[in-house]
C-alpha cells in the first residue's frame, strides 16, 4: 500500500494497481461509494496483465486520505491482497475535466522500427526539450522487428513542429527508426465522421464566396 500525505481534501485521485481479474471496479467503486464519494472521472488500462485504475473521487466534506486508502484496501483484501493503492489529494485546477497543461495544437508522433532499450527515454528527452507535453503514449511490441511507438503530444503555440520533426528524424534515422510528426487533425479527418470544419473548432475559414 502506497502511503499518501495525510491531509484533508474534498477531491482525491485514487489509483489502484493489481493483477487483472473480474470485479475490481465493483470493489473499488463500492468502497468509495460507502464513504459518500462521487466518482467524477474514471480511467482504466491493462498493461502487461496488470490492471491500473485511476478515479477522481469527490466528497461533500473534507476526508482523510488514510481513511479512504484503508477502506479501498479492505475492499480488495480478499481477492487481491497485493494491490497497490495510492490516494492523492488533487486541487481544483488539475481536477477540471479537459484542462490542459500546455495550450497548443496536438500532434501525433510515430516511431516504427526495431525495438531497443532507451528508445522511449530518447524520444521523451527530445519532446521535453521542445516543450512538447505528452498526453498519450502507445507502445506496441506485437511485431518485434517493427515496434510501433505512438505519442500524442501538445506543442505550445508558437513552437515549430517542423524543427521537432527534423530533430526526431535526425536522431532516429541512424537507428533504423522511421519517424513522423503529423498534426492530429489528419487522423481525426480520416477516422471520424463529421464536417471537416469541426476540426477547426466549428469555424469555417470565414471567407465569403460573394466578394
Amino acid at each position: 500500500v502506497v502511503s499518501s500525505p495525510a491531509m484533508n481534501s474534498k477531491r482525491y485521485l485514487v489509483t489502484t494497481v493489481l493483477a487483472d481479474r473480474v470485479g475490481i471496479i465493483r470493489d473499488v467503486s463500492g468502497a468509495l461509494f460507502a464513504l459518500g464519494a462521487n466518482l467524477t472521472d474514471v480511467r482504466q488500462a491493462v498493461i502487461g496483465g496488470m490492471f491500473v485504475l485511476n478515479a477522481i473521487a469527490e466528497f461533500e466534506a473534507p476526508r482523510d486520505a488514510g481513511e479512504i486508502r484503508a477502506k479501498v484496501s479492505e475492499a480488495l483484501a480478499g481477492a487481491s491482497p497485493a494491490a497497490g493503492i495510492s490516494v492523492l489529494p488533487c486541487g481544483p485546477a488539475v481536477a477540471q475535466s479537459g484542462a490542459r497543461t500546455v495550450d497548443g495544437d496536438r500532434y501525433v508522433a510515430s516511431f516504427s522500427g526495431p525495438d531497443r532499450p532507451g528508445r522511449i527515454h530518447a524520444i521523451a528527452e527530445i519532446f521535453a526539450r521542445h516543450g512538447a507535453n505528452v498526453e498519450d503514449w502507445r507502445h506496441d511490441l506485437s511485431d518485434p522487428a517493427r515496434t510501433l511507438t505512438i505519442g500524442v503530444v501538445t506543442l505550445a503555440a508558437g513552437s515549430d513542429p517542423l524543427a521537432l520533426q527534423d530533430e526526431l528524424r535526425d536522431a532516429f534515422a541512424p537507428l533504423g527508426l522511421a519517424t513522423s510528426l503529423l498534426h492530429e487533425n489528419i487522423f481525426r479527418a480520416t477516422n471520424e465522421v463529421g464536417p471537416i470544419v469541426q476540426l477547426f473548432g466549428g469555424r469555417s475559414n470565414g471567407v465569403s464566396r460573394n466578394a
Binding site: 516504427s112 510501433l148 503529423l182 487522423f187 480520416t190 477516422n191 469555417s204 475559414n205 471567407v207 466578394a211
Partner: protein, 475 residues
Amino acid sequence: MLETTDLSATLRMIGEENLDVRTVTLGVNLNGCAREDVSRMVQAVYDRLCHAAERVVPVADAIGARYGVRIVNKRLAVSPASILLEGHAGDRAAAVALCQAMDRACDTVGIDLLGGFSALVHKGMTPGERTLVDSLPEAISTTRHVCSSINIGTTRAGINAGAVAMVAKQILAVAEATREERGFGAAKIVVFANQPEDNPFMAGAKLGAGEPDRVVNIGVSGPGVVKRALDRLFAIRSDRTLDEIAEEVKHTAYRVTRVGELIGHEIAGELGVPFGILDLALAPTPRVGDSVGEIYQAMGIEKLGAPGTTAAVMLLNDAVKKGGAFASSAVGGLSGAFIPVMEDHVIGEACTAGHAHARKARGDDRGLLRGPRHVPGAGRHLLRGHRRHHPRRGRHRRDEPEDNQRPRDSRPRREGGRSRELRRALRRRHRDEPRLPRGRRRLRAPRRPHPRAHPQPVELAHPAKAACRCPHTPE
C-alpha cells in the same frame, strides 16, 4: 482519443501507400484585367497573377509538411483568356503576349502549370475566341507552364463541328511547332465536351462562369491506397462478394477524400480565399503501386480486358464517387477513375498483350466521367462527349444503351433488328421505291468498319518505355 488501429491506418496510408494531394489549384478571375491597350492588359494580367498567387506555394508546402501529405503540384486556373482578347480580335500577337505574361507570372511565383488559356466554342465562336485558337501554335510553343482547353460541345448544344476541325488543325500545328520536344505542346491542350467549371486538373483547369473571384480547388488521388485496402480485405478472407468490395472501396475513398478536404480548408483559410471543390480522381502514374489497373487485378480481374473488366470499372467508379460524396462538402470537377493506357503500367501491358484495346476502353468508359485517354492511334469516338445520334428523335443520345430500339424487333441488329420504320425503309429501297429524304439516307448506309477503329496493340507505346509527361494527369 483515437484508437491505435486508426492511427496506424492513417500512418500507413500516408507513409506507404502513395497517398498524396495531386494538386492545389487556385482559381483567379482575370476579367478585370481587360484593357484597350495590349501592353497594359498584359501587365495587368501579370500583376494580378503575381499578387493573387504569391503565397500559394509557401502555404501549400507548409501545410503539406504539417500533415505529412505531399502536395505534388501547385497550379493556377484563370478565367477563359479569350474574354480578354475580345477587344483585340485578329491580333494574334496580343494573344501570344498574353500567354507569355501568364507564363512569366508562373515562373515568378513558382507555379507548376496554369490553365485557362481557353475558349468555350460549343455553340459558336467569337472574334476573341477565334484569335485565341489561331494563336495556339505560337502561344503554346513559346511557353512552358500555360495549358489551353477548348470546349467544343455540350450535351444541350451538341458539337460545334466547325470548331472541331479548326482546333484539330491547330493541335497538329502545335505538335509541329514543338517537334523538338516530341510534340509535347499538343499535350498541353485538351479538347472538351461538357468542360467542368471547377476542374483543378490540367490541362483542362479554368475558372468557369459562376465561380468566385478567387477560389481554392483540390485534386486528390490515391489508387495505391485503394489497391492496398483491397489486398488487405482479400488477405483476411478470399471469398468476398461484390458488395464487400464496394464497401471497402467506399470506405477508403472516404478517407482519401477527407485528407483532401482537410488540406483544402487549411490552405483556403491561410490564403484567405473560399474553398471550392474537391476532385477525387484515381489517377495513375507509371509507377508500380500507383496504378488503377492494379485495383482491377486486386478485385480479381487477372488480365485487364477479360470478362468482368467493365463491371469492375463500374463498381470502382461508383464506389469511389459515393465514398467521396459523403466525405466532402463539395465534390466537383471530374471526380472518377482514369483509365489511361500510357500512364498506367497494368493497362499498358494489357493493351500490349492484346487483352484490351481502345474499343474495350471505350466500352469501359460508358460508366465513367473520365474517358480513355492517350491512346495512340485509337481512332474515332474517343471522347465521352461524342454521343451517338438518335436516329428517330433527332438529337443526341444521352446514356442510353445503344440497343434501345431492340424491343421493337427481337432480331439481332446485324440481321436487321432495327425499328419498324427503318426496316420498312430498307424494304422500299430494295423494291426500287423512291429513296428516303436526304436526312435519312445515312441510316441505310451499311455499317462499315472505320479504318482506324481497331488499333493494333503493337502500335501502343509501352509506358515503361515512353513515360508520359502529359499534364492531363498530374504527376
